[in-house]
Symmetry: C2
Subunit: 468 residues, 2 copies
Amino acid sequence: MNYGRLNADLIEELQSLLNIPVKYDEESLDRYSRDETAELKAVRPEVVTFPVSTQEVSEIMKFANRHLIPVTPRGAGTGLSGGAVPSYRGIVMSFEKMNRILEFDEANMMITVEPGVITGEIQKLADRHNLVYGGDPCSSESSSIGGNVAENAGGNKVMKYGPTGYHVYGLEVVLPSGEITYFGGKRLKDVSGLDFVHLMVGSEGTLGIVTKITLRLLPKPKYSVALLVPYPDIDTAIAAVPGLMSGSGVVPTSLEFMDGSSIRAACSFLNIEFPYADAGAHLIIEVEGNSKDSIFDDYVKLGEAAIEAGGLEAFVADNRNTRDKLWKARKSIAEALAAISPVHSMEDVSVPMANIPKLIKRSEEIAKKRGLEMIAFGHAGDGNVHVTFIKGDLPQEDWDRNLPLAEKELFDETTELGGCISGEHGIGIKRKKYLASIVDEAQLDLIRGIKKAFDRNNILNPGKIVDL
Amino acid sequence: MNYGRLNADLIEELQSLLNIPVKYDEESLDRYSRDETAELKAVRPEVVTFPVSTQEVSEIMKFANRHLIPVTPRGAGTGLSGGAVPSYRGIVMSFEKMNRILEFDEANMMITVEPGVITGEIQKLADRHNLVYGGDPCSSESSSIGGNVAENAGGNKVMKYGPTGYHVYGLEVVLPSGEITYFGGKRLKDVSGLDFVHLMVGSEGTLGIVTKITLRLLPKPKYSVALLVPYPDIDTAIAAVPGLMSGSGVVPTSLEFMDGSSIRAACSFLNIEFPYADAGAHLIIEVEGNSKDSIFDDYVKLGEAAIEAGGLEAFVADNRNTRDKLWKARKSIAEALAAISPVHSMEDVSVPMANIPKLIKRSEEIAKKRGLEMIAFGHAGDGNVHVTFIKGDLPQEDWDRNLPLAEKELFDETTELGGCISGEHGIGIKRKKYLASIVDEAQLDLIRGIKKAFDRNNILNPGKIVDL
């Protein structure tokens, strides 16, 4: 693409449309050229903007069309695939300043927010009203709801509540042309035209810019209990999962796993103690319910089954403090990893739940064959595994040569097991070259055709998902 | 559009691609030019085909492209908007013969079926394995799952389980070009490219032809209880609904309402007795759970609240027979109406749940102003109301003049209340002219652009949703 460049005159024109000063100092350009993806090849934007209203977002897009400038929308910058990082310089549109909760509609159990709101704020507000927001990415304390929508963030409660998209009912959207439109609304049923709401969710900010989000809330279950079950090794832990899911008649809210290395990384990072920290792997199983009796039945049944499948013990965390501690460890793994082993590649493969044991086994074989260290953790109950290859002491050139081979092999295995290459982090920049090799040409053409229908000039987040 | 016509040679060529004889006798052409939409202006196809495999579906589409023949895919023909009825003659592609259950995958709690399978069969198979398929359109005994997917059928359990799309995880699709592709799969999380699965759902067979459907099943709750609560009049019944939903902390599985006329029509049609059959309206409230204690708490709480809001009594149906009887009456209303008042227009408006009382009041005002009879029933808990205008003794010319005015007024009111013109029946032919007047031009353009990306020659179900 032959994009325009932003000279001083154009930056002045852009500034005249906006309330908050744009930034183009070196430090800002550097900061907005990264997210939390390890080792991302970064391109710096030319300018960073901070719109405060839908109208300003629209003005930026009209400006961008006039001058053919690429625009990269950005939430809190916690992405793990480079979706909010420019591929072609231009404008970064940060939603830091559009972070208001616009309406809490208790009668309809819906909340409407701006994209810059931190997801954890929505969870806490719902909780105070005895409701629950079902989305729960591990990054909930730092990621924004707009980013969650863009990547259809998953997290820890997908088995019971579904991913982000299952909670999204209405979206105000600025189209790449600058036109403002509204998809869906506060109604539970809608088949009036195409399902644009769910086409927007997970489209990584390539089709339109979400400026208001209406989410459904649900009544909060009265009781929650988490079990922590250590296992001697990861294969035993993972082999237990399909039986726990399909045999119990219970849909746990969460069923997470962490191998020994990841739990020890989290403990060292947080400087905390953890029971059986030397175990080969742990499962965390959480159940919710409105009756003490039935939740007791559920967790006893799950705990017994988990031990029968080789668990060393089943710790019951039935108070908030203990549960919070478990989850803090689980949720900090990615951050711990970044601190301890900065050169790594965190994958996000997702397979049918019954195929998780095979996926873990094959991942181990691939890592071994390619001489890479590997740790694994993730959302066992929904089949989404963060296999993570680590450089460790490997010479740089071996890492550079072997990582792409290992990734390709992992993605091929995942595909063979009925899975996909990203469950919740997205394609972005990180996985673009692999998507094109896995999805058939007809689908790539459809993605391109839809992109063209939305964004004639290819100025909105170009270079993500597929090349045009 | 300048479509080709099917002469004897072309019909022979088409037949040579297919196992089952095509039909073009008068009776068949007549039969396949209708669905269950009252008073639909029908166009006859030129030929009806009965493919038995994905390959045959693909061959028909390639044939259609070669000769520019429009193709209308069709499930069981129970649609209520004309989505499966030709607008431009050509080929009807009936899925009657692709009606196999292909795989029941208990380990992943997923089932894969052909589009012609009757939805009730899936419900029953799941039930026998102690699982539940969450989709429950009133037509479940006669509609096919392919049609449910095409219209994103809703039904009676959407508050708890979501509409059809929430259960669909994988789709084999024949694109309009004849190419065969696969969207999604048996994984709970997938953000690897655009969400084609949910773009297909509800697209009314205009973007591709679904030839295999993979659905998620869930553990079956152990207990179900239904309450039947008669009210003196419809306004009192409907005014009770928002409080029952948001005040109780319970998500009922179903919260249905029927006005007095609709329940009496059903009773007379089925020749059954019904408690308080002379009441002004009834609510049916169903709750599910795994613990006897908690379900007792739930229904007592809901029953007391329902009576406090003006209910005359709360009948408890806690055994299958009584529950089945209630549901039989509720589910037969549409059929009863067609038999008793064949000249009618059944609407499908959907609003935020708290706005249902306003919607009913305004509908009554519109009917009165336009001199039409009106009955109302539907899914109160999810905001989806089947306001139905009836001709009754009105002279034909008054009906012809006043119905479109009443519909337009109803849709404008619905839009003002934050609703949409169809919650579960679709746009099809019936509502096409209204959609274009309610949705903004930018969205109509996007629908057209997406349609073009899928179907360059506009041969797949042309004339539905919007005109190109």
